[in-house]
């Protein structure tokens, strides 16, 4: 048990402390605020590396540190933190990515008047997420989980003066709450079943033999309930609606939410409590996992389709995030935990890269987000272009050089070997194509073709913004070293099997398949949108090529498959109606009832009033006058003059004295 | 020989008492106390006269002028002249004054001052009234001065008098605490409240040169300085003479007094001075002990009065040197500096005692005092920080 394990709490504590100090700073101390935030993040990064080291020594290393939080009755509530390859990798990724984002946002938020508040929230956000990662107790995890939600709420609604931002914040908060409700129920059920919320507790944690056996068949439902939480957080199909709207927040925030912290939390949660899902699995298939696969598939496909019909640069990325998360969910569901996590980590890097790139583009185009108004930025912002291209290729899964490719392949592998059906596999393949397609579309719109309204006088961003881009780009390329099937170090690290080097494995059928798919996607993209780029510069709102071909489909996609509208028509409308009904009930039915009773009461009151007047009052009055007289007599004694009292005391003493002397 | 010279006054008293041998012993008691009282009065009235003229002369020297030098040789008869003047002056009592109080105030103040002198050992076996709780008696009597001052202030029904009395009482009360607390270390170390015991405890020498006076220990030195300052305040001397600051309130609580009553106040002030200095000598400067073993043949009372007059000279010197302080400054000084330092002296004395009074103990208690002193002077540095003045010219 090394020092770092017992003091793991320091990792989230560092950014938290930073944020608290920043909040207490004066609004003018901008540099101090930024410096503090970054120092806190660097400290967290250093500590995470420190925590990373012990996990290398043995495959499947895991050490936990539990302690009693408080005791109620004979129940003791124990919480704790743990470090294992999963957590360590996540820690490393989160801290590194957040560091880049922090640095980036110095440049991006430079003009904002609530600079300090922003950094405080950012630090708080990453602190909460780190807490989620190190938690060894479902309770602690849930607490940090909710803190993440709170932080996201604060940050999405950062520009509170924008009604849309406020609305988006509310939407995010409430939508995730719906999921968290399920999550909470799951926690309760789990506690009821296994009697502990610790994941690993020397053999009797809820994820270990004893706990699972204690849970028995109900594990499935618990798993599903917990999955609700994951669905809410990482924007899976029914509850994904908040994620695109979360684009209202500042771009670094979107980057943080989509790459490092928030959405990762859901996937991480599923991976963390995977034993619950896989409990009692017949060759790796359980009902709960099947549900996960289902949801994931739907999400992935739907999101990548919608992404095709969007014009807001950030929304496209958002939908791509959703689809990628779906992909991860699928891979988790089909049993490729390692694959899913690897993709999550890789995704963390390249999605951060993409978002920051988008941020830099937006910054360059004076906060214009419509890709139709951009174009030809290739020459104006070369660094952004290059890094963005790298990110795009990573995302669309170009093999060999880009981490995304390898992880996607892993996932596809996993889906192939799923016994239930191969539909997910094929759908995933389609998803890959779509991903490549919409990314290409975006690239062309933004960077190729000739300039348009917004990109007239665009400029490259300052180094403080471009350096993080470069760093992230390098990361997302370099990561592929440990991902190749030739030397699947990360895979081995996560699963706990030793990874051995074998160049022969580098070449496999799946590689070519995905290569082909990606090629198809990108090619298709160029074919479809190639000329769209070279539209006349003065026409801003031009029709999308797809719109030419399939107006109906395009509108369907553009309006996000009318999901929001559907929700409005259904869920929201229903609740409104329910409210209206109960209101009506209240006004008319209950009110009438109450009035009726009131009338009865009044009648009775009149009777009793008369009775009072005639009967009781007189008697009472008599008594009262008598009492008052008595009171007057009494209060005469109560002169309120100390000296009188003193004199009386003296007389009393005298009396006692005489009495005593007499008796003696 | 030297012994007989030392005890000459004791012998004389015994001789006088032997005159009324065979009388009932309360008569003898009465006689001895009367003798003591007259001795005291004689000595200190003389000292007062001498002091008053010497003060004026020394002040004169300090201010680079002759003092009184007309009446008698070197103007030594000046006090006589003053006395006569004071006696034949008209005694004015304001109409609105509270006659009784106005009349009683000077008597009371003088009486207390003289009483305080009664417990100080002036020489070997030369303590007029050897009370077991002598120090306590001293302060008990001394504390009644405040009442007397108040009587003076209230009695003469004059706002200057009242203000003066208020100031006097305020600063007396404030400085009574340090004054008394600085005696605690001595009392604790000696383990007795009687001046004789304290003086006895300071007998003896380190290798015949360094006397065992308490002023030679760090806490003793600190306590002595604090005690001396408080003494200055208690006897309303410069630089703490705001109660009778002529420039502000005519003459404080003595404004409405004239003639002999004024003289009484004057005398009381000097007697208070003598008493405080005498107590300082007793407590810290080894009472009537000789500074060097070799000089013990000189009679003890000589030593005592030598030390006393040295202190008195310092009084005069300060008066000639220092300007008058402000009331709020005095108060701040009392509560923020004197009091904590006095407590520190107690601690230091305890350290000194429990380190078995060796050299190490000496250094330890020195360390305590120095540390606290440093800390205090850091903390209560209330000097106004003025911004550097910039001159702007008309442009």
């Amino acid at each position: 048990m090394s020092w770092i394990v017992t003091n793991l709490w320091l990792i989230p504590a560092a950014p938290l402390a930073a944020s608290l100090i920043i909040l207490s700073l004066a609004n003018s101390r901008r540099s101090a605020a930024a410096g503090l935030a970054i120092i806190g993040q660097i400290a967290a990064l250093a500590l995470s590396i420190l925590a990373f080291l012990p996990t290398l020594q043995a495959p499947g290393y895991r050490s936990v540190h539990n302690f009693t939080w408080f005791t109620f009755g004979e129940q003791t509530l124990r919480i704790g933190w743990m470090i294992d390859p999963l957590a360590a990798a996540m820690l490393f990724m989160i801290t590194l990515v957040s560091l880049c984002i922090f640095i980036f946002s110095i440049g991006y938020m430079a003009g904002d008047k609530n600079f300090n508040r922003f950094f405080a929230y950012l630090s708080f956000f990453s602190a909460a997420m780190l807490g989620v990662v190190i938690a060894d107790s479902l309770l602690l995890l849930f607490i940090c989980w909710e803190l993440v939600g709170l932080a996201s709420y604060l940050l999405i609604g950062f520009w509170i003066d924008r009604p849309s931002a406020a609305a988006a914040a509310k939407k995010a908060f409430i939508t995730t709450r719906i999921g968290d409700l399920g999550f909470f129920l799951g926690i309760l059920w789990l506690y009821g079943g296994s009697g502990t919320l610790l994941f690993y507790d020397g053999g009797n944690g809820c994820l270990e033999k004893a706990g699972l056996l204690a849970l028995g068949a109900s594990a499935t439902f618990v798993a599903l309930l917990i999955f609700c939480g994951a669905v809410g957080k990482s924007g899976q199909f029914p509850l994904h609606v908040w994620l695109p709207d979360a684009m209202e927040g500042p771009t670094p925030v979107s980057a943080l939410i989509h790459a490092a912290t928030m959405v990762a939390a859901g996937v991480f949660l599923v991976a963390r409590v995977y034993p619950l899902f896989s409990f009692g699995a017949v060759d790796g298939v359980t009902p709960s996992l099947t549900v996960v696969v289902l949801i994931g598939t739907i999400t992935a496909l739907m999101a990548s389709l919608i992404a095709l019909g969007q014009f807001d640069i950030k929304r496209i990325l958002a939908y791509s995030t959703v689809s990628q998360l779906g992909l991860m969910m699928v891979s988790l569901g089909v049993g490729g935990v390692a694959a899913g996590m690897m993709h999550l980590i890789a995704h963390g890097f390249f999605k951060a890269l993409l978002f920051l790139g988008a941020g830099s583009v937006i910054h360059g185009c004076h906060h214009e987000q419509d890709i139709r108004k951009m174009g030809g930025l290739r020459r104006l912002m070369p660094i952004s272009f290059l890094t963005y291209a790298i990110g795009m290729m990573t995302l669309s899964g170009v093999p060999f050089f880009f981490s995304g490719g390898w992880t996607k392949e892993e996932i596809l592998h996993a889906t192939v070997h799923w016994h239930v059906s191969h539909i997910p596999h094929y759908l995933m393949l389609a998803g890959v194509v779509l991903t490549a397609l919409y990314m290409t579309r975006q690239m062309i719109y933004i960077f190729f073709g000739n300039r348009r309204a917004a990109s007239e006088n665009a400029h490259e961003s300052p180094p403080v913004m471009t350096l993080p881009l470069i760093a992230l780009a390098i990361c997302s390329i370099a990561l592929s070293v440990v991902l190749t099937p030739a030397w699947p170090w990360l895979h081995g690290y996560l699963t706990g099997e030793p990874a051995h080097f074998d160049i022969a494995l580098l070449v496999q059928p799946m590689l070519f398949v995905s290569l082909a798919l990606v090629a198809v996607g990108i090619g298709l993209g160029f074919v479809m949108y190639g000329k769209a780029g070279r539209e006349d510069r003065h026409r801003t709102a031009e029709t999308d090529p797809l719109e030419h071909v399939q107006p109906a489909l395009f509108h369907f996609l553009e309006n996000k498959m009318w999901l929001d509208e559907i929700y409005d028509r259904t869920v929201v409308a229903w609740s409104r109606m329910a409210a209206r009904i109960s209101d009506w009930m209240d006004r008319h039915f209950w009110d009438g009832l109450v009035r009726g009773f009131g009338g009865l009461g009044q009648l009775f009151g009149i009777f009793s009033a008369n009775f009072d007047e005639r009967g009781i009052n007189v008697g009472v009055d008599e008594t009262m006058t008598g009492t008052r007289g008595l009171g007057r007599v009494m209060s005469a004694w109560h002169s309120g003059q100390i000296q009188t009292y003193l004199g009386i005391i003296a007389v009393g003493m005298l009396a006692l004295l005489i009495l005593y002397a007499w008796l003696a | 020989m030297s012994d007989s010279l030392d005890q000459i006054f004791v012998r004389g008293k015994q001789m006088l008492l032997s005159l009324l041998a065979g009388a009932p012993d309360w008569v003898i008691q009465l006689g001895s106390s009367l003798i003591n009282i007259f001795a005291l009065l004689g000595v200190f009235l003389t000292l007062f006269a001498l002091m008053s003229v010497l003060e004026r002369k020394i002040l004169g020297r300090i201010q680079n002028r002759y003092g009184p030098n007309r009446v008698g040789p070197f103007g030594l008869f000046q006090p006589v002249a003053d006395g006569i003047k004071m006696l034949i002056k008209e005694d004015i009592v304001p109409v609105r004054a509270d006659k009784v109080v106005h009349f009683l105030a000077p008597i009371m103040i003088a009486a207390t001052a003289i009483l305080a002198l009664g417990v100080i050992p002036y020489g070997r076996n030369m303590t007029p009234f050897a009370i077991d709780g002598g120090i306590l008696f001293f302060f008990a009597v001394g504390s009644t001065t405040e009442l007397a001052v108040f009587m003076a202030g209230w009695g003469s029904n004059n706002k200057f008098s009242m203000l003066g009395a208020m100031r006097a009482i305020a600063q007396m009360i404030s400085y009574e605490l340090p004054l008394i607390i600085t005696t605690f270390p001595v009392v604790m170390v000696v383990g007795a409240l009687s001046p004789d015991a304290i003086v006895a405890a300071q007998g003896g020498y380190v290798l015949g040169a360094v006397p065992h006076w308490f002023v030679t220990t760090p806490w003793g030195a600190a306590a002595f300085i604090l005690f001396f300052i408080s003494g200055l305040v208690e006897s309303n001397r410069t630089p703490f003479d705001v109660p009778e600051g002529e420039s502000e309130i005519v003459a404080g609580h003595m404004t409405e007094y004239s003639g002999f009553k004024y003289a009484t106040f004057f005398m009381a002030e000097y007697f208070g001075m003598f008493a405080i200095s005498g107590l300082a000598v007793t407590l810290f400067l080894g009472g009537w002990h000789a500074p060097i073993a070799g000089l013990q043949f000189i009679p003890s009372y000589v030593w005592f009065f030598a030390k006393l007059s040295a202190l008195l000279f310092v009084y005069i010197w300060l008066r000639g040197t220092l300007p008058r302080t402000r009331v709020d400054q005095i108060m701040n000084f009392a509560w923020k500096f004197m009091l904590p330092m006095a407590f520190t002296c107690i601690v230091a004395a305890a350290v000194w005692h429990y380190q078995r009074r060796g050299l190490a103990a000496w250094l330890w208690s020195l360390a305590v005092i120095v540390v606290v002193y440093g800390a205090l002077s850091r903390l209560i540095d209330t000097r106004k920080k003025f911004a550097t003045r910039t001159y702007r010219f008309a442009e």
Binding site: Q643, G647, A650, V651, M653, L654, L657, I658, Y660, A661, A664 | W26, D98, V100, V101, L104, I131, D132, G133, L136, F137, F139, A140, V141, S143, T144, E146, L147, F150, M151, W154, M162, M166, I169, I173, E176, G191, A192, L193, S194
Partner: protein
């Protein structure tokens, strides 16, 4: 202890006490109160408890009397007006006095001569205070501190 001294002290105590109780002017009353307490201190001396006597003078003349005159000063407005005297109190007081005297003379074995005891030195008192009575001493210290703070808070100018 001699009867002469006793008589003198008794007069010196009771006369100022009566004055304190009956003088019309508050300041005079306060001053004669101080005088009466000197007399009581003298009684303590007579009884061979010098320490108590000195403490008595120290506390009452040095502190309490000064406090009282200060209070008189601060409440000058109606301290100036000599206040009326109610005779009911006198009656009660005299009655109480009679009762006490009666009780005293009723009790047998009180008219005894003082036994010879060795003087009660300050050292002795100190030892007793520090050994048997150390807890009461601490408590008194606490009480005094509390009283000091309380008095300060009471007389603080309340800020509007």
């Amino acid at each position: 202890m001699s009867t002469a001294a006793f008589i003198v002290i008794a007069i010196l105590t009771l006369a100022p006490a009566l004055a304190a109780a009956s003088l019309p002017k508050l300041i005079h009353a306060a001053l004669s109160f101080a005088l009466a307490f000197v007399g009581i201190a003298a009684f303590f001396f007579l009884l061979g408890a010098e320490f108590v006597g000195l403490v008595q003078i120290f506390v009452y003349i040095g502190a309490v009397a000064v406090l009282i005159v200060f209070t008189i000063l601060l409440t000058r407005r109606d301290a100036a007006t000599p206040d009326k005297f109610n005779w009911g109190g006198v009656v009660i007081a005299i009655a109480v006095f009679g009762g006490l005297i009666w009780a005293i003379f009723l009790t047998p074995g009180l008219s005894i001569a003082p036994p010879q005891i060795e003087a009660l030195t300050v050292k002795r008192i100190g030892e007793v205070l520090m050994t048997d009575y150390v807890w009461p001493l601490q408590c008194v210290g606490l009480v005094l501190t509390a009283a000091l703070i309380g008095a300060l808070i009471l007389v603080m100018e309340e800020k509007p």
